[in-house]
């Protein structure tokens, strides 16, 4: 018998929390993207766990789509990071303050 689903759900919650903490505290845009990937992976793990618990393939299909969207998001996001870096030689999000009143 496999371990109970709650163990994987708690693990996913912990992973999500670590990713959220990193997103809130780190200043480099690249590291913030990595933290978003951590949070997406936590949600994927939750989907797969519920898919196993409900004995239904839909959860895994949704994870497949989440992975595609994550790939698209990283592609565009890193394009933005590269173009911002060209203009100001930094990836720190604190220095992007032109709209500050």
């Amino acid at each position: 018998m496999n371990v109970p689903a709650a163990w994987y759900l708690v693990l996913a919650a912990g992973l999500f929390g670590i990713g959220a903490f990193g997103l809130l505290t780190r200043r480099s845009a690249l590291i913030m993207f990595m933290c978003i990937e951590l949070m997406l992976n936590a949600v994927n793990l939750t989907f797969v766990t519920f898919s196993r618990t409900l004995n239904d393939i839909s959860g895994q299909a949704i994870v497949f789509f989440v992975m595609v969207v994550a790939a698209a998001e990283v592609t565009v996001g890193l394009g933005i990071v590269v173009s911002v870096f060209r203009r100001r030689s930094s990836t720190s999000v604190d220095e992007l303050s032109e709209l500050k009143g």
Binding site: L9, L11, F21, S28, F65, S90
Partner: protein, 186 residues
């Protein structure tokens, strides 16, 4: 006590994946060098792939390794090398006073709330096997393919459009300025 209730291999697999996931995740947010953070991210992704295999999501585990660890992290590393931003960030510098404490409190409330909800209530309340039943091994790939190309066909076609748009957008964002001049030179 735990090992008596559940078979030891599954507990060992869970412990392995939990260790890989948590150590890698803490590494991502704690190390200074972005290259090391990307390598820690690979560790977490492999841990998630182990958890996928343990829960009979074989195809997703393979995709996790190939797409995430293979493509996305390589893209991260490529950008890090391309920009040369390693060893820049001062990790202990706090631009907003108390930001770290507020973040820790907020995250603790969120995660604690999730776990408390899970302990108090029965989360899994939906009908089982609405789309297709799960099966282990290669049957899993067959079922996932059937679900994606029948039930989720529209979403699948939409992801094709999404990927094309993302690639075009990334090329437009990251291309050099004054492309006309560079065409004349070439």
């Amino acid at each position: 006590m735990i090992a008596a209730a559940y078979t030891t291999p599954s507990v060992l697999v869970f412990a392995t994946s939990a260790l890989l996931i948590l150590v890698g995740a803490i590494g991502v947010i704690a190390v200074k060098n972005p290259v090391h953070a990307a390598l820690c991210l690979i560790m977490t992704l492999i841990g998630v792939a182990v958890a996928f295999v343990a829960q009979s999501a074989d195809f997703l585990a393979a995709v996790q390794i190939i797409v995430y660890a293979g493509a996305i992290v390589v893209l991260f590393l490529f950008v890090i090398m391309f920009l040369g931003v390693d060893r820049r960030e001062h990790i202990h510098f706090e631009p907003l006073v108390g930001q770290r404490a507020f973040a820790a409190v907020g995250v603790a409330i969120t995660v604690g709330g999730l776990i408390a909800l899970m302990a108090k209530s029965h989360w899994v309340s939906g009908a089982t096997s609405v789309t297709t039943k799960l099966s282990a091994g290669s049957g899993n790939v067959h079922e996932l393919g059937t679900a994606v190309f029948t039930t989720y066909l529209f979403a699948f076609e939409a992801t094709a459009a999404l990927l094309i748009i993302a690639v075009v957008g990334a090329v437009l964002l990251a291309r050099r300025e004054r492309p006309i001049q560079s065409e004349k030179e070439a």
